[in-house]
Point group: none
Chain length 189, copies 4
């Protein structure tokens, strides 16, 4: 039931954005009454926050498990793969994610501070780049900057692919980003 609501919310929020999403529409889609939604979530904001939180933690988990213990170079390959796959699978969430990114995660709930989470996520994953630099594999560049470069590039291309604005396959997106970024990052001689 909570899950049905969360799914419906994800769908509606992704289609309409936070403000145009109507609780009644979510209820309808989830096949529950409006009141039932409020049994599980105190407010529209909280429901929205929970949708994001859930997926974000899923994404974080997948990414971390994939990257874990890998060499920097391999880790970046794996990161790109995992993220593109995740977003391909979670299109609705991807929409929401992009919206929130653009609003710098404005909707922060008591239970889950999204912008704080994202800063940590960036910090944590940029460690991979940092290690690569320390090992002399990567050029000496701001690690967080590099991570933001990769994730920004990835999200942007993939977003337009999902919107149908450019005609490429997910695999091509991965290849493109890896080709450019890895070559650009590697310390040649």
């Amino acid at each position: 039931m909570k899950d049905r609501i969360l799914e419906a919310a994800e769908k509606v929020f992704s289609e309409k954005g936070f403000y145009d999403a109507k609780i009644s529409k979510i209820a309808e889609l989830a096949n529950v009454s409006v009141g039932t939604i409020y049994r599980f979530y105190r407010s529209k904001e909280e429901l929205y926050g929970e949708v994001i939180k859930k997926k974000l933690l899923e994404m974080e988990k997948e990414v971390e498990e994939a990257v874990e213990g890998k060499e920097p170079l391999e880790a970046i390959k794996v990161y790109v793969n995992t993220v593109v796959d995740f977003f391909s699978r979670e299109r609705d969430f991807f929409e929401i994610f992009m919206m929130e990114l653009g609003s710098s995660f404005i909707i922060d709930t008591e239970r889950f501070n999204l912008s704080e989470w994202y800063r940590n996520y960036v910090r944590k994953l940029s460690r991979v780049v940092e290690r690569g630099t320390e090992e002399g594999i990567f050029k000496k560049l701001n690690p967080e900057g590099v991570f933001l470069l990769i994730s920004g590039a990835l999200a942007n291309i993939d977003y337009f692919r999902l919107k149908g604005f450019i005609d490429v396959k997910p695999e091509e997106v991965k290849e493109l980003v890896l080709e450019v970024v890895l070559t650009g990052l590697l310390n040649r001689k």
Copy 2:
């Protein structure tokens, strides 16, 4: 007068986002009455669209003039410079731009189809990359993909810089992106 309204709108929209921006607040800031705003703009949506349109065309003009007639490699350098400078100058608009990007320019007005505009912008500027590929300078990669990579990377890093999430200077952002992307893009024998 129209300009005063547009400026006020830009400010308020950037601070509050589309939905939390109040027409009355814009009127107050522009030192006009609410009614006057409606003399120039049919609706909140239209006003919002005009704010974006105006800045977008400015940005487009600056970018095109800067890139015009340049060699591909130089053109990309110039593009990165121009965009970072533009966003540094136009912080308010940058906020709005990022929000709209994430909502895939949902607010389309009759007068100005934002998502259509953006597709053209991408197509047009990706020609620079295409030319580089044709001239054998750049690797053979999807040109639009490459452009989206560059612009996505740029926007993402710069956005977090503006939010104060990472501590870098605009010049460093340019250098970082150019270092990685150009090296990654160049066709090394």
Copy 3:
């Protein structure tokens, strides 16, 4: 069980008033489920009515038994004593009673018409005054008016005492009212 519900209801209604009292809160306090309350009482209104009815009948009984067979003068003394004692004992009900008095017992249920009951109560007890007048002990005044005078005075003083607005003891309230009213009522030569 019915009693536990009634007690809980009395408490909650007295604290919150009819509208802010929540059935769920009453259920919690009575240690029964919401459904159980509805097994005994058809609606919130009915439950409220029953709370009042029960106490009102108790009060009526006590007052009547106390007054029964007494001489008019003594009867009034006894009435004042009984009512003040009753309200001292039944503070929660006193709160509800005052609220309802002010809303002229708006909540009438099919089973128990409160305002009708109150009219009867006034009529019945004013008979004491009437008898006193007939016997020539009391001045010739509207008996119901006199009764309302006594009960109004009593309730008002006692209410403010209970609220802590004036610092007197219950006994002083009785004395005060009896002193003024009885002297004022007696037919001096």
Copy 4:
């Protein structure tokens, strides 16, 4: 306009009580839109508070002006007259007043603390009784108690008169109360 709203609110609140009064109904009666009400009053609570405040201050003013400079005995006569006349004139407000009294002025707004006001009102007017006692005209009794006795008696009788529960004229109410209370209060040798 503000006045029209206030009048309509007074009417609806007096008929329905605070909770059952609908803002939309008040708007309809005042011949304004719902939005207009909110231009003048921030909330239903505030509107309610303003209704009471306005009338209460009117009543206070009338009573004070009437009582001003009068001998204690005369002052009480004048008080009774003024209050009964005021309530006869302001039936709707009288209803609201009785409701609020019973709920001990629960609805306190930031702008006007009703229960505080009432305590002051009682304190101030009970000075009349106090003076009578000091001058040896009245018996030595708790002055606030005496005032509450008078006002409670008055309100109670008059309320039932207005409800049509007892058949007396306003003048008889005054006479009745004055007859009983004044005789009861005077210090007979």
